[in-house]
Symmetry: C2
Subunit: 344 residues, 2 copies
């Protein structure tokens, strides 16, 4: 592989059409597997207790990109030996993700999710907690049905690590002394772990050898890091700090994300006070948010966070270096770019 293929391309050189086409190509390449995954998701979120599919489908139908299960299917196809388990694994990964979202909404007291009212605002916190538990149980059951203890180990370890990471994030909420290392530990646990598990169990389902399994795990982990860094930049309006809807939630919830942590490192006393006053203050208004974003812009912390995201995206691409070329490998190669481009 030529080194120039691995270098991040200049932002302005990327036509937007190209970028949105990436996810379409991933969807096309995984269409057959994803049809089976979507059917499994539908049948396994059903229950004679009406409230279970009502809550689960409210979230599931809202969709999201189903990026994680597509990654599982794509990873399995690299090794040509898909035996059916990749469908179970992909559905289990998506169920774990949806369970996390339901619980996160309760934890963050969110009112919106995927552009719709959060389930908890319709059915209450109780239903969100319990249906999340149900989806987690179903995820493990699908993994058990695969008969693959190794893959079960990957996903159950991921479940514990994700929860641990979220607790750490909670413990650090509003803590002005949070370090970049703390932040890295949090996002690695709460986000990168599930991306890593998604691609790793995909590789396992495809029959990869140990080295390729490790490579796909690294790919997912680095992609997940980039994904979360970008998400945290988007919460301040993206790399250009364009304020609009769905911006400022992290600030109001007191989440210590990298743009804030980096700004606090060099901010003046007055700027620190502006940030501290807005942080974790559910009533922070647009003016306060604009003041904070101005500080982030002054220290270029959104840009510096994006630079780190680009480095992780690069590492994700590098992880695929020894995977034999194939159409699926080429698509996976472009996903990190799709991921970071969202913020520009």
């Amino acid at each position: 592989m030529a080194v120039e293929n691995l270098a991040p391309r200049p932002v302005d050189a990327r036509p937007v059409d190209d970028i949105s086409a990436v996810i379409d190509r991933l969807a096309a390449a995984t269409a057959q597997g994803m049809e089976a995954v979507n059917q499994l998701i539908l049948s396994r979120s059903d229950s004679p207790v009406d409230m279970v599919p009502a809550v689960a489908n409210h979230l599931i139908e809202a969709g999201g990109k189903r990026l994680r299960p597509m990654l599982t299917i794509a990873a399995s196809s690299l090794f040509g030996g898909a035996h059916g388990n990749e469908v179970r694994f992909a559905a289990a990964v998506e169920f774990m993700h949806n369970a996390t979202l339901l619980h996160d909404d309760v934890v963050d007291e969110s009112d919106m999710r995927r552009g719709r009212p959060a389930a908890r605002t319709i059915w209450g916190n109780q239903a969100s907690v319990l249906v999340g538990d149900f989806l987690l149980g179903q995820a493990f059951l699908m993994m058990v049905e695969s008969g693959d203890l190794d893959a079960l180990g990957v996903l159950s370890r991921a479940a514990a690590v994700i929860a641990e990471g979220e607790v750490f994030q909670l413990a650090k909420a509003g803590d002005l002394a949070t370090t970049p290392a703390d932040y890295e530990r949090i996002i690695k646990a709460k986000t990168a772990t599930l991306f890593e598990a998604a691609t790793e169990v995909g590789a396992m389902a495809g029959g990869s050898d140990a080295a390729a399994r490790q490579a796909l795990a690294a790919y997912g982990r680095e992609l997940g890091m980039a994904f979360q860094l970008v998400d945290d930049v988007l919460d301040y309006g993206g790399a250009r700090g364009s304020l609009g809807k769905n911006v400022g939630d992290d600030l109001r919830e007191g989440k210590m994300t990298l743009p804030i942590i980096l700004a606090l490192e060099t901010a003046t006393e007055v700027e620190r006070e502006v940030i501290a006053a807005a942080l974790g203050n559910a009533g922070s208004g647009d003016d306060q948010l604009a003041d904070v974003v101005a500080i982030l812009a002054h220290y270029d912390t959104l840009g510096r966070t994006m630079a780190l995201a680009e480095r992780h995206a690069e590492a994700a691409r590098l992880a695929l270096a020894d995977i034999p070329a194939s159409p699926e490998r080429d698509i996976l190669f472009t996903v990190p770019e799709f991921c970071t481009s969202r913020a520009y």
Copy 2:
């Protein structure tokens, strides 16, 4: 086995000492296994994220009887072939139970648990949800380490069924049309399933044959039914309706338990209104509770619920009929009686 051994003994014939001795005998018989279980519980609830062991140990140290893991250990010892997995299974069962308690406190908005402030009142709902998720992940990880896919299937199915039962209970909260069959379905799912899993995986760890595994599953299931029926009677002050502390929570939360359901079946219009006014009303005072308990007493619904509990306790004992006699079998034989005696 002589039939008279299986007949429920008259209440007044049971000296209290005898009854509390049951749990001591169970504890003594399982002491060696439980020491390993307790160590495993301690090490697996640890984490570099301080809040995780803080929340977990707050609940775990409060103790409870650890009835479920003791049942797993006792069940495994019936078959003489304990291979170490019974310790993992028992710890996993207790973790699942504690995860459920942490989530239930959030769902029920409870302030107290095991005589201490509920974790959510100290660390917040968020930590309770997330540490519950962590314990669930650790439970599955311990099961994976056992290498026993069959037992993993039992526990992951149980996790989904328990959550489903709790959602059904939530959907039925305050619903005056709830039937005894609805109630049976709820408690079978939310409580009996974990008791059943506890004894079933215990039997599996001990190396039981299929018939004995089924017998132990039935024992756990019936014991669990009796346990929950008794709990629901205790929430109205026990079989004699003695009002005191920790009484009336179910009423205030709108939980449709059998004593209420049976009373509503035959209550007059005025009595229905008294019950309906108190049900799900967090501000229901002692007077309202006393009025409701008087209605339950009038229709003897606490007594009738206890009669059903006794029948399930009897069924639990019967399930052990074909298990070869042993000291452990004899102790398990007395546990259902311990369970029902709590309410007298």
